[in-house]
């Protein structure tokens, strides 16, 4: 366990370095800069600004400086939001995105596993076909189609929930559903496939022969091995939810990190964009690590 943790920790370093080098060069090589505006600044002011933010140094030197600051937890100042540091912006945006994302993930896992299990128990019946066709539709309809439709039906026509903004739980309902739906569909498909295989296995037949009820078999014996593929999908699912949040936050006017990112990219806000990429990169790496540990805990055949 300890060896595994240490190994993974050192394994993550090259990943992070590649991530940062890629993002850094991509941002800096791009034409345009953070101080481009309608009004042409005088050369002298431009020079001073560049000097103040160390933009006049060679690229590699800037990168080293950035890394040094990062190690001390300093993401630097934002270029576009004057007087704010990137850390402050992440601190305001992330809690919102986290709430949205974790609720969506929770909903996706619970609903997805439940639906998939139901379809597996009724394999090749009409229920199964209907549910699985619905799930295939869910995989195929993108978030940015679902979200406006949800707004149209539940906010504009029925007026059950507000169409956007931030407030009490009612504001969260539609964005969370929009974010979760494709994942529910995907997880349901995964669960159905593995559950069918597990239910066919010998030890389940033995359990059945011993007279255990369907429910006991399901919860005590079948569920744990059947959700293994779902657990290993959690990594990509997080990435998908983070990406989806960019769109969902845009549509529902939720002030989270996704919106900061798109705005930051459009404003050439170097440090903000870089900060968000690094932040999410670290988050995904950490999350994948926890998923691996959970997987090994669920499946003792896999050794740490």
């Amino acid at each position: 366990m300890l060896r595994f943790t240490v190994k993974r920790f050192f394994g993550a370093i090259p990943t992070l370095l590649v991530l940062m080098v890629l993002a850094f060069t991509l941002i800096r090589v791009a034409p345009g800069g953070p101080f481009d505006s309608e009004k042409q600044l005088s050369a002298e002011i431009q020079e001073r600004l560049n000097a103040a933010y160390h933009l006049d140094e060679p690229l590699w030197q800037q990168f080293i400086r950035y890394l040094g600051n990062l190690l001390q937890g300093d993401f630097g100042p934002s270029f576009a939001y004057a007087d704010y540091t990137v850390s402050e912006l992440i601190a305001t945006g992330f809690p919102v995105s986290l709430k949205l994302g974790s609720l969506a993930m929770l909903l996706a896992i619970i609903a997805g596993v439940a639906i998939g299990t139901m379809a597996a128990l009724k394999q090749n019946t009409r229920t199964d076909y209907v549910v699985m066709t619905a799930a295939m539709t869910g995989v195929s309809v993108p978030t940015f189609v679902i979200a406006p439709l949800l707004v149209l039906v539940f906010a504009v026509t029925l007026q059950w929930f507000p169409a956007g903004g931030l407030g009490d739980w009612r504001n969260l309902v539609l964005p969370v559903i929009a974010l979760a739906l494709p994942q529910i569909a995907y997880i349901a498909r995964l669960t159905r496939g593995s559950m069918i295989e597990v239910l066919r296995s010998d030890y389940i037949r033995t359990a059945r022969a011993q007279g255990l009820t369907q429910i006991e078999i399901l919860f005590h014996h079948a569920l744990k091995p059947a959700i293994l593929p779902v657990v290993s999908y959690l990594g990509p699912a997080t990435a998908a939810i983070i990406t989806g949040s960019v769109v969902v936050e845009q549509i529902f006017g939720v002030p989270g990190l996704g919106r900061f990112f798109v705005q930051g990219a459009l404003n050439r806000d170097y440090t903000l964009v870089m900060g968000i990429v690094v932040f999410y990169g670290v988050l995904i790496i950490c999350f994948n690590f926890f998923v691996d540990i959970a997987y090994r805990w669920l499946d003792p055949r896999v050794k740490l």
């Binding site: 993002a23 791009a30 195929s140 149209l152 798109v262 968000i276 990429v277 999410y280 994948n288």
Partner: protein, 292 residues
């Protein structure tokens, strides 16, 4: 050698036969074909042009008399024509970006698997590293910084999607490289590159086709995602994603501007996913005993 390549084909043929034997997948294939034909025949089907504005019919609902079969948008452009032309772009991006990812993925995976040892470890470690990248963010950055060029979309999206392909191809190559026909070619003095090109890659055909059908919808989705954010295809060109974005803004007054592009996009993705799934099941070695 011919025996070997015939086996590859017959595996494919078996897959096709079992695919066509299912009513659902046949329907998906037919639907797919209809969408493709419609987008190709777009200019013949409507008197309107992609950017022609009909000021007598602004934001009108679908009607046969005015020849606006899917209605018009807020500047009087015909949604039917725009949906079909948009489909051309979406499908084109889907196909070309998939080709990019196919070429990179197949060569990367085949070389890693065939070379084995250090090279393999290094190449696959690189794939692992790339897997952990928040790629959508890089694509967004690319589009923002380097202009919304359609060729850049192909390359960017393709460059993002080759990782799965590389992993699958590597696995297949590993299982193939000690088979008799490869040993025979090696004994006969065929160069490594030619073994990969002439003997390994043709035998990967079946698996690769499955993943191509599953990659195309992913790629179309990424493109429409970008277009939805306003970072993809630019006016006067359009794509399903861009149309959905326009439609979402008008959905309260003119819901058809959202409905039809969204329907075409979803139906296309559905068909590709369905066919890909069917192919994968058909080729699954666990179900077809006797296939090596």
């Amino acid at each position: 050698m011919t025996g070997v390549s015939q086996q590859g084909h017959s595996l494919f043929r078996i897959a096709m036969r079992s695919l066509l034997s299912s009513k659902a997948t046949t329907t998906a294939l037919a639907l797919m074909a209809i969408v493709v034909l419609l987008t190709l025949a777009a200019p013949l089907l409507s008197p309107w042009d992609i950017d022609s504005t009909d000021w007598d019919n602004v934001a009108t609902s679908p009607s046969i008399e005015t020849a606006h079969y899917f209605g018009t948008d807020d500047v009087g452009r015909d949604i039917f024509v725009r949906t079909l032309y948009g489909g051309r772009i979406s499908l084109l991006v889907g196909l070309s970006a998939t080709m990019v990812s196919l070429v990179i993925g197949v060569f990367w995976g085949a070389i890693a698997g065939y070379a084995g040892g250090r090279t393999d470890q290094l190449m696959m470690r690189f794939v692992d590293v790339m897997y952990a990248m928040p790629f959508m963010f890089f694509v967004i950055l690319l589009m923002v910084f380097f202009g919304r060029n359609i060729f850049l979309i192909f390359v960017a999206v393709g460059a993002v999607n080759w990782l799965d392909m590389a992993r699958i191809v590597r696995g297949q190559t590993l299982s193939m490289k000690h088979r008799e026909f490869v040993e025979a070619a090696r004994a006969g003095g065929v160069s490594n590159l030619n073994i990969i090109r002439r003997h390994i890659i043709p035998n990967l055909l079946g698996v690769v086709i499955v993943y191509v059908t599953l990659t195309i919808p992913q790629v179309i989705l990424v493109e429409s995602f970008l277009s939805f954010l306003g970072l993809g295809v630019q006016e006067p060109m359009t794509s399903w994603g861009a149309l959905v974005n326009d439609g979402a803004a008008l959905m309260e007054s003119a819901p058809w501007t959202l409905f039809f592009p969204a329907l075409f996009l979803a139906a296309t993705l559905f068909c590709f996913n369905f066919i890909g799934d069917g192919l994968r099941d058909a080729l699954d070695p666990r179900d077809s005993a006797g296939e090596s």
